[in-house]
């Protein structure tokens, strides 16, 4: 492992020292053996054990936004669970605030989970039988806080994540993004020093995901908590992380700031990773799409539409139906013509071009959008599998990202 880290050291809140995790009946035997440095596959074949974490050593500073990045199977979720001992490490030490939590007994471990660290989960892990308020107070109730304190702190946390007014709803009534806000509020309510987040936004729609990331950055600024954030998304890592640890096959292969990782990749794996990560190849339509300034609905009248269009100063707008499905695009000319004709009542009747419009799904990478960008004068609509309109991408945005890539390539060469 190469540490390309150049920022000045402040106080470490958490240090991990040669942490190992092996799943299997003879895990302890394996760690006595030289075989422990062999390939994962070889270990599995010879011992039947699955090596999940190999000799992890890293330190996280107080108040830092630390991202653990890796593809699936890299051990990142196992690592973050070891920090709460939701998974028991096989050997090594985890020191938090100067104490090795691997030596904690059950009572001390419960104290750590109640007061010092809390966690946000990929699949939310909300209590379906509790209301939003009861979900958020859970951590406080568990540690025996008074009713008044519970209520006050929970309401504060709920306000912080922007869910005021939803206290008495059950989680099932909320959208995915809102459910994860509940998850975040629940974790913040206990006022922990360290916040663990295990791919918290990966189950959300691209636009919601981006919005949640922005809000998290803001929150971090306000609350100054230490955040350890796990993700498989390189761009999320680069956006959020003060420092990034890149994991592969259960090992940490590089720790450093995003700039360090980009400019001085520790080895070929990281370099390949970055290469693959050139924006056009990695960024998806969902990432760069934006909400249009104006969306017209099929039942709106022609004059209303013209008024709205004038107000935004655009020459065109997309038309969607009741279920937000894309029906077509309306231009000023089409509207003027329709009004002059006087026969058509709603924008639905004048909307044209719907079959000829280029379109794409949220998971299409930008590279594939280049030909579409030059095909027509209008933005490209992003639709989900049911033709629901998610957002639009302006041609300019696509071209910008292409130019950006050029510049980066030139920088890398020099």
């Amino acid at each position: 492992m190469v540490n390309t880290d150049a920022t000045p050291a402040t106080e470490d809140i958490l240090t991990i020292e040669s942490l190992w995790k092996v799943f299997g009946p003879d895990a302890d035997d394996l760690l006595e053996n030289q075989l422990r440095f062999a390939d994962k596959e070889e270990i599995l074949e010879k011992t039947g054990c699955v090596l999940a974490l190999r000799d992890i050593t890293l330190a996280v500073r107080r108040g830092e936004f630390f991202v653990i990045m890796g593809l699936s199977g890299s051990g990142k979720s196992t690592l973050i669970r070891c920090l709460l001992r939701l998974i028991e490490p096989t050997s090594g030490s985890i020191v938090i605030n100067g104490e090795d939590i691997c030596r904690y007994d059950q009572a001390k471990l419960m104290g750590l989970r109640r007061h010092t660290i809390s966690m946000v989960f990929q699949h939310f892990g909300l209590f379906p039988h509790y209301t939003v308020l009861d979900n958020v107070t859970y951590g406080l109730k568990i540690r025996g806080a008074s009713r008044q304190e519970r209520h006050d702190r929970a309401m504060e946390a709920i306000a912080l994540v922007g869910l005021k007014g939803w206290e008495n709803h059950l989680p099932e009534a909320l959208s995915g993004g809102m459910q994860q806000r509940v998850g975040l509020a629940r974790a913040l309510a206990t006022d922990p020093q360290i916040l663990l987040m295990d791919e918290p936004f990966s189950g959300l729609d691209p636009l919601i995901r981006r919005q949640m990331q922005d809000e998290l950055v803001e929150l971090q600024d306000k609350l100054n908590k230490t955040i350890i954030f796990v993700t498989h998304d390189l761009h999320e890592a680069f956006k959020l992380g003060g420092r990034i640890a890149i994991m592969r096959n259960g090992e940490v292969i590089q720790i450093g700031s995003p700039e360090d990782v980009i400019t001085a990749p520790a080895n070929d794996y990281v370099r390949d990773f970055m290469q693959d990560a050139s924006p056009a190849k990695v960024l998806t339509a969902g990432w760069i799409m934006e909400e249009p300034e104006l969306l017209l609905y099929e039942w709106q009248g022609l004059k209303t539409a013209r008024h709205l269009l004038r107000a935004t100063g655009e020459d065109y707008a997309f038309v969607v139906g009741k279920h937000h499905e894309l029906l077509g695009i309306v231009t000023r000319e089409l509207l003027d013509q329709g009004i002059r004709d006087g026969r058509q009542a709603t924008v639905r009747d004048v909307a044209g071009l719907v079959r000829d419009l280029p379109r794409c799904g949220p998971d299409v990478v930008i590279e594939e959008l280049f030909p579409l960008a030059t095909a027509g004068p209008y933005p490209i609509p992003v639709l989900n599998e049911n033709d629901r309109f998610l957002g639009q991408i302006r041609n300019r945005t696509i071209l910008d990202s292409m130019i950006q890539e050029r510049v980066e390539e030139e920088e890398n060469q020099s």
């Binding site: 939701l86 007061h115 909300l126 951590g139």
Partner: protein
């Protein structure tokens, strides 16, 4: 090879007999006390049911059915059904039967729900208890009725005992299943916030398993009702005994009336407890 070799005989019968003798000799007082306890409880419930005037019970049943089933017509139908039992002249016997069922169900739940919880927590315990539950449900009841008679004597107590044996398995099974069905991600979240196993049980597992456990309670009640005829053979008075007597006298009409009364009790209890089980979670 047509005949099974004699030498391979497993002397299970002798073992059971010896064990039974030993229990009778050494545990007699224990069963006396347990039997008296059950009897006191049963008599108390029976006296209560017989003490309440019948119009009150009919009215209360109607109101409860209306509230939990959500329609006033259901309440009226349930109340009318109870009146039918009364019109057969079986009110007293029906209340005695009900008392027997209620005591057996209460004891079944007191033992069954904690057993189901323990079973959900240990895979080993589950594999141990499962065949036991199978045996309780399939072993012909007379096989354990006779030992029960030897332990408790003739009368209501062995009847309650036999009913418990037969009726308890569903609530154990469904408590076990209900707790095991709770999503691991929810349990993990509860653990991550520092819950003790006890807190997880009471704040997360039991509330989420509640609908399943209520189905178990419903089934246990139904099973208990279906045992009343057998129970009457060893001296428990009630509708079951009436069925038995009518059949012995080949009085088909009386037998039908008594049998129908049991069915009516079953329908009323089933509808009401089932409605409790499926009722949607409220925002509490």
């Amino acid at each position: 090879m047509m005949e099974f070799p004699q030498g391979l005989r497993l002397p299970m019968a002798e073992w059971v007999n010896t064990a039974m003798d030993w229990i009778l000799l050494n545990w007699g007082p224990f069963f006396d006390i347990a039997g008296k306890g059950i009897l006191q409880m049963l008599l108390l419930i029976e006296r209560l049911f017989l003490w309440i005037p019948w119009p009150v019970i009919v009215l209360a049943t109607g109101i409860v059915a209306w509230r939990v089933l959500g329609r006033w017509t259901s309440g009226v139908v349930m109340a009318l059904l109870l009146l039918v039992i009364g019109s057969f002249g079986y009110w007293q016997l029906a209340m005695m039967t009900l008392a027997l069922v209620v005591s057996a169900v209460v004891i079944s739940l007191v033992i069954g729900i904690p057993t189901g919880i323990l079973m959900a927590r240990s895979d080993r315990l589950e594999t141990l208890i499962r065949p036991l539950l199978d045996a309780m449900q399939t072993m012909p009841s007379f096989v354990y009725l006779i030992p029960a008679l030897m332990l408790f004597g003739l009368g209501k107590v062995p009847a309650v005992f036999a009913t418990i044996i037969y009726a308890m398995p569903p609530v154990i099974r469904l408590t076990n299943v209900g707790i095991r069905q709770v999503a691991p991600s929810v349990i993990e979240a509860a653990t991550a916030f520092g819950s003790s196993p006890r807190q997880i049980l009471f704040h997360v597992q039991l509330p989420l398993a509640r609908p399943t456990i209520l189905v178990g309670i419903n089934q246990t009640t139904m099973m208990a009702l279906s045992m009343v005829v057998v129970a009457s053979m060893i001296g428990a008075k009630g509708l079951g005994l009436e069925v038995l007597l009518s059949i012995n006298r080949i009085d088909i009409g009386r037998g039908f009336e008594a049998g129908l009364s049991i069915v009516i009790l079953a329908i009323i209890i089933d509808r009401i407890t089932h409605a409790f089980a499926v009722r949607r979670r409220t925002n509490s």
